[in-house]
Symmetry: none
Subunit: 410 residues, 2 copies
């Protein structure tokens, strides 16, 4: 079984909307073990929609079309599909009742145009839309399977879960299970060198992916049962970790802040941060995790030298001698915020986020990260590529800090 | 001139990566007045890449390909393109020097595989990648224009801005200018009612867009010159602002934090924030703007009651009587952080980010925002829809706070 995804909407090809539906559908298809080799986006144009359907059904057995089911004149997907397969659009009384109920439940009059959304190609099965007015269809026609869904993501997700998932179950011949291994501190190229031979495997497949300065490895296994796929993944994971395990920090949906949070909880530790160049981002990321009030008590963003001296109690002489962006100041920031907040661990970070503020000795992207507990203080120096701009420097600096914090706790 | 976008990467058709590059490129093409009717995503498979190129160059004059330029074995885009057009891949010494410099500047050894990224189809022009190792190409071949760029979004953006934008300028037949008006505090429906008649216009077009809880209006005008398009936009903008101008806070790439920053600079004011439920996000957003060290001195994330009392000096009795999430505590947080940091304005924010911590009287999403200067203190109460989860509650709370700060400064 081969599938294709066709997303219809002029907003997609004008770039005003990012095509998240294609990714959602492909993820779901992969999990069902249904191969999808192409997805295409096209505007609300009948000829180009017909051309795209024609291409897709020559390459695939199952076509999933999204978008263009609205009530307005530029929504023409259902007509274009019916025309392509030379079928009549027929009025569906039951579907129209549901549309009318939708408006009634919101105390709104039924717009005249809404009736259009109750016409479907003859022989197709209507898929109910529980949260909107545009129903979809599942249609077996000319030896192909066609599924049509609205373009509004939230409506599409619910219809997928309540109907499509089950409907496609019968086409699923095997399971695809995936696992993501997440690494920090090793570039894609070096990681690639270590697992070069594994990347040639056909099942499971192994692929490195770069995202926000971090390198992940995706393992994808295909098997008759979920259990068999799991065994294939476990075996490959062990092999990869035997070669690069020291850089691994998490799996799948893990974030650095979640992993750090879990570690803190499991060890019963608390942490506080004194941030300069990251401006509150580390604090914000740490508090993104529900329950973080259990291990975060207070953080200070000491942006000015004055704040560093007055509130954090950094030695003014230290700043004068070594500069605010220095190993010495990072260490003292970590020590002092720990004492001030009364936490087990203190984190201090100071650096140059750019685009200004650099000197020949201290370029944009230079960051010092201090970590301190009752018995020891350590400082790490990091050079972040300044080319991506201030926000990325801030984000990567916060990721380095969270990763060093993770290692410090361990 | 017709263009097409072809995005290469198995992660795209597995749905592991959302195709943001297609939207970026289409937006840029629309601005240049270059029509793009299709975009396609395909995996790292030589036959399917060749098939997609074949289709695209039959339909279009300009093909923009992204992804699959990495150093690893599954990155085959450059080879697939060269093969399709029956060209040799030739080694480019200069490009390789830049790749070597990239690693040298990071004190890293050059991986063996990196050499692969210095091979390009004979006759193509190399596009330098200022922030990564994968150069792109611009290639006029068989009467078509082919542009190839890496799939890493940040690298692609910089290469587009430094090279492609200019390169494509010659193909631009007319201008499409867009302007986004950004509103806060008015729902899409109410804004839509006010401009209903304008939304029927054909040139410029007017469309409301909702993003992250804010409502924007896009005005798009098409004309022979940039100047003419600008006049059309100005006229429409004036009409819209005459109807809903009081909710407008910015334009285009403006962010609330940038607008607030500019206001602070123009009035010579400084600000400090004491955050509870937003956990540092307001501070981080304010410091995303270059030059923010001019008006941000210090911020405090007082997450625990202890921190509120000890560091911020909040009256313990106040917390006991009214609770930490209260009008009274928000007001005192604003007043005290202002004094502590010695700034002109103080902002205090306290609320329930969820998913836990709610009481019948204080639901998740309840937020109090205090603002204080030498002469006055005000507090705003906001109820944020908790259905979107903790991170969204945090983000919307920070947007409300920045918007109230903007109005307070004005």
């Amino acid at each position: 079984m081969k599938a294709e995804v066709l997303c219809v909407g002029t907003e997609l090809i004008l770039g005003d909307t990012i095509n998240t539906n294609a990714a959602y559908i492909c993820r779901k298809l992969a999990k069902l073990g249904i191969n999808c080799f192409f997805h295409t986006a096209v505007g609300d144009n009948p000829q180009r929609i017909a051309h795209s359907i024609d291409l897709a059904i020559k390459r695939a057995d199952l076509l999933i079309v999204t978008g263009g089911l609205g009530p307005t004149d530029d929504d023409i997907t259902m007509q274009a599909i019916a025309e392509f397969f030379k079928a009549e659009l027929v009025f569906n009384e039951q579907a129209y009742e549901k549309i009318k109920n939708f408006f009634a439940s919101r105390n709104r009059e039924v717009p005249q145009k809404a009736r259009k959304q109750a016409f479907f190609p003859e022989g197709s099965e209507v898929i109910t839309n529980p949260t909107g007015t545009a129903p979809g269809i599942a249609w077996d026609v000319q030896g192909k399977h066609i599924i049509v869904l609205p373009g509004v993501p939230d409506e599409l997700y619910i219809m997928w879960e309540t109907f499509v998932e089950n409907y496609l179950g019968k086409f699923s011949e095997y399971f695809i299970e995936k696992k993501f291994l997440k690494f920090f501190g090793i570039p894609e190229g070096s990681l690639g060198e270590k697992i070069k031979d594994l990347m040639a495997c056909e099942n499971p497949t192994v692929a490195p992916l770069v995202s926000e300065g971090q390198t992940n490895i995706r393992i994808a296994a295909k098997a008759k049962t979920k259990h068999e796929a799991g065994i294939l993944i476990d075996k490959m994971q062990n092999e990869i970790l035997s070669r690069a395990g020291e850089y691994l920090w998490g799996y799948d949906e893990d974030t650095l802040e979640k992993v750090v949070g879990s570690l803190l909880v499991s060890k019963g530790l608390t942490v506080s941060a004194a941030e300069s160049c990251t401006g509150g981002l580390i604090s914000s990321r740490l508090t993104d995790t529900p329950g973080s009030s259990g291990y975060i008590k207070m953080n200070i963003v000491a942006y000015s030298n004055e704040a560093k001296i007055n509130t954090l109690g950094i030695n003014a002489g230290l700043i004068k001698t070594y500069g605010a962006v220095s190993k010495q100041v990072a260490a003292q920031m970590a020590q002092n915020v720990r004492e001030l907040a009364g936490t087990d661990i203190g984190l201090g970070i100071t650096g140059i986020a750019g685009p200004t503020g650099a000197t020949p000795q201290k370029p944009v992207g230079l960051v010092y990260i201090g970590l301190s507990d009752r018995s020891r203080t350590e400082v790490h120096k990091v050079n972040i590529n300044p080319g991506f701009g201030r926000k990325t420097v801030k984000h990567r600096a916060s990721s380095y800090a969270l990763n060093y914090l993770r290692l410090f706790i361990k």
